[in-house]
Point group: C4
């Protein structure tokens, strides 16, 4: 089975997700600077989610690049990942509109956590298909970064109820960690 | 005529359908857990439709993979399928917002039924083009699964007026039946 | 310059146009059959526009298939066509919501007319680039169907103010005329 | 690393951006010509933004065509550009709904300015990757047009507070300047 359409479909879904989020930033009815002020938290929330979808697209790009073939299980593992990512516009809007209050921040983190787990499942499904000694398996290795991300999300969720901004800072931290391109896969591919 | 653009266009439409459905899950104006409660049926309805669009994408992927060429009739049979699938965001929103009441559940089933019929027509148009002895025709075979799905939808629609949850359970049943990847096409392709 | 990205971008825009139109069919807040009745004209209007976008995608597919290369002028002629097509969700919603009243029906026709003219300009730009004796030019020929469509739209627009349903019938007529696949290009390609 | 998916993802995002802008043109509830009048400034604003997204797609197409490979830095430079472009539907709606008042016109210009800077950064990242003597670097040259655009935006923003229409005229001027296809890249590619 060919990986081309899996990439095309994922690109399509991610492109729509990253773009429709901006629809939640409703244009104010008044032409004043003051009318933009309530949108600041919506914009911040949008920027964070834009970066996250960008990271997922980027990692997905790397992962599928190292992939030779796909099967039914990986198609569904990929759709499972897209499902959690498709909830990001909702959690982004809820968090932005409510100025980073406890519950929206916690739910935002839960969706990130579940997307992280879904990505982990996708890598496992791909490794199972290609074999443990395959270049794909070697390039992913132990995936410490993915595991650390999931741990940080898990820590951030309860923290959101005490200090939402700390949870928010944790999400930003994970994003920064991922913004640095993954040297493992690039190194292996270069060999 | 080339099948590449047919796949690309279908991927685009399915990617937009699967993603805009989430726009119906309006983010609540209050940052409390209670504010999420009315969205549970919207979310359930979204999950079901997400899985259905995923199944159609998956089957479409398999079907087109076994396809060698397309003509005017298959282009229109494909658009006809996309038309019924494009109504799924509407029926999903109606069913979710009205907590799985009789009419929305019945109309949801009617659209599934018509999409199922449209998929059947598409397979027939492709078999006609490739010939009865073609690998495509052999791989589809008698398409029992497709026929059973249509029968289950047809049974569910009247049941929705007596017990909507039974109709809903039937839709879930069909989805589970399809989640198992189609061994017929995979087997034939492997030969 | 490569035609691949022109096709990909056009497919993307057409896929979004055909799908976001359905967002205008707002799901009713009540779960009764009566609640669907006001949506009948919205649905009819959606079906007509879905078929039109399908026709444009189909013809665009044929046209680009016969195309060997593109240049700056054809890129802009193509964007000009996409611009008019992008207004179809707006005119569709206006016509559907207002139950096929005079002005919405007339404006719907104007956008169809301008899209028809834009398609004509695109074919001219492509013929100019490939030369009058090219297979593309031969396959398009005098494009009687395109010219007749434009004339029917031009006749329908004033008629919309007397009898909107006659104008609507004219739009359906053009759609039926185009549903029959274009034998000119197919014939030339087959040679 | 392959540039194909970067192009596909960018095409997807630009296709969604250019199309969802039209959702801001809400269809009026009355079927009269008078009901369309308040939409004139929304339509003008839409046309301007449609042309701008078209220009960016066109330039992006040329730029990536001359590109041989991409790396992590260029992927992120590209996402940075898409981020600013994704804000255009918002600024378009705000400017259109408020009939080209000072603040919306100024903010519209700021987003154009930042998108211009992001495009400049993208070209620098690509030149750095391909080397100063590469065909890509030669074809871009000193990029006077890009630099002039940024200067015009910077001049237009303060002017928006004195005479919004002058700022608007400046945006139209830049658009016209870019509508003429870029001879530099085409010339170099032709060699």
């Amino acid at each position: 089975m060919n990986k081309g359409r899996l990439e095309a479909f994922s690109d399509g879904v991610l492109a729509v997700i990253i773009t429709i989020m901006v629809l939640e930033m409703k244009s104010p009815h008044e032409p004043s600077l003051a009318a933009l002020r309530p949108l600041i938290s919506v914009l911040l929330s949008y920027v964070l989610s834009f970066v996250y979808i960008g990271i997922y697209w980027n990692n997905h790009h790397h992962l599928l690049h190292a992939t030779q073939r796909v099967n039914g299980a990986t198609l569904w593992a990929n759709l499972h990942l897209l499902f959690w990512l498709s909830l990001i516009p909702f959690t982004t809007a809820w968090m932005g509109e409510n100025h980073f209050e406890a519950w929206p921040v916690a739910v935002y983190g839960m969706v990130l956590l579940l997307a992280g787990v879904a990505y982990f499942i996708l890598t496992k499904a791909l490794i199972k298909l290609h074999g443990r000694g395959s270049p794909l398996a070697t390039s992913i290795g132990r995936d410490r970064k993915g595991q650390i991300s999931i741990m940080i999300y898990a820590a951030a969720i309860p923290l959101a109820f005490a200090r939402p901004w700390i949870a928010g800072a944790f999400y930003v931290l994970v994003a920064i960690m991922w913004l640095i391109p993954d040297p493992r896969i690039e190194r292996t591919l270069a060999q």
